[in-house]
Symmetry: C2
């Protein structure tokens, strides 16, 4: 699988890309600045010991990927989506965006579109299947090899796309949990703010979330 | 401690009241119909084998309790709060309400006040400290004796009141986690809808949530 990580030079994007490269996937790093994307890809290749990653400008990266993962700050969300819209048509877009309030970073921002994920789906249209995932996974977890004690909550309006992203999470050593329609991303995105506060209050660097009381695959 | 459970004849209220009675607390069951409250208290007393509970009409129950727990459907939320407002002044009100969409019960309702908890705090005023808790705990968990594999996320604008409710959760065998200000109740209330969907998809009766990566008490 060739996975594009748009905004892949940030901590979260780097962690995801490195994890998939380690799991034997081809990775395409996207950045607004192509030279930064190339450098980020070289770092990944050095870490995994083979040529797993290449770097390109965001739009080309999105074009090259079979599945496209978006890891940009919320402020760049709409602009980046407009930039890559044609490149992701017919694909799955995995949205990792958390709409943090810029003024008060511990607060969840109230979005006109409900959640970053719903806004992305509205902007890209029905030909692209948007799935929210990985927002609650600290980049400190991604940097760690081996099993990690947290789940990836996966939301989106297309059941098959959710299952595909649950497999992508599995490649990184996480259990993906089918958390329902795109509308539920309001809760999952907000949960990140809650975890950031818990990190602060409990002096933790990587509070996470586990769903208990379920076994086996989902019924969908 | 004398704990009033307003709306204590429902499944969730009954489970909470029974748990606290088992833990040696005095319990006051409130209901709109006093005879139903009395019957519910008798059921609890029979279960624990001593006179732990009494039943009263909601307003009197709220007056009798040192701490007041509200477990009513969202549709009765505002009316019940107006009814007990004077009775809870100066106390902690623990709000267990989840604003489920009546038309589409799997959907989170968008509230003008942000969350049931914030609406309760606005209605009761600053003399009453509102704390959100227990919304994610299935009544099937409450019915079980002994340790349960899920946490109670505790939100509210008063730090000491949150700590008090964390202790109340501990009496029921749950770890309470300090989840920050009342605003975060938007996420915690919404998480219940997410868990209901997960129950359905994974054929579970009691999906729950655990916060991972934290140890010890909070720093507040």
């Amino acid at each position: 699988m060739r996975i594009a990580v748009v905004g892949g030079t940030g901590k979260e994007g780097h962690g995801l890309a490195l994890g998939w490269a380690r799991a034997g996937q081809e990775v395409v790093i996207g950045s607004r600045a192509p030279e930064r994307a190339v450098r980020a890809a070289e770092t990944i290749n050095a870490a995994v010991g083979h040529a797993a990653a290449v770097g390109m400008v965001n739009r080309e990266a999105a074009m090259a990927g079979e599945i496209v993962v978006l890891t940009v700050p919320y402020d760049a969300h709409e602009e980046t989506l407009r930039d890559i819209r044609d490149s992701v048509r017919g694909k799955i877009l995995v949205d990792v965006t958390v709409p943090v309030d810029l003024e008060k970073s511990r607060r969840l921002r109230v979005l006109p579109g409900g959640s970053a994920t719903e806004e992305a789906q509205a902007l890209l249209g029905s030909e692209t299947r948007v799935v929210a995932a990985f927002q609650n996974i600290s980049h400190t977890h991604l940097a760690r090899e081996g099993g990690v004690d947290c789940d990836v909550l996966v939301c989106g309006d297309d059941v098959e796309a959710r299952q595909e992203v649950i497999r992508l999470a599995g490649l990184l050593g996480f259990r993906g949990v089918d958390a329902g329609p795109a509308r539920n991303a309001r809760v999952v995105e907000g949960f990140t703010i809650l975890l950031l506060g818990i990190n602060r209050r409990y002096k933790s660097k990587g509070a996470g979330v586990r769903i208990t009381g379920i076994e086996g695959p989902s019924d969908d």
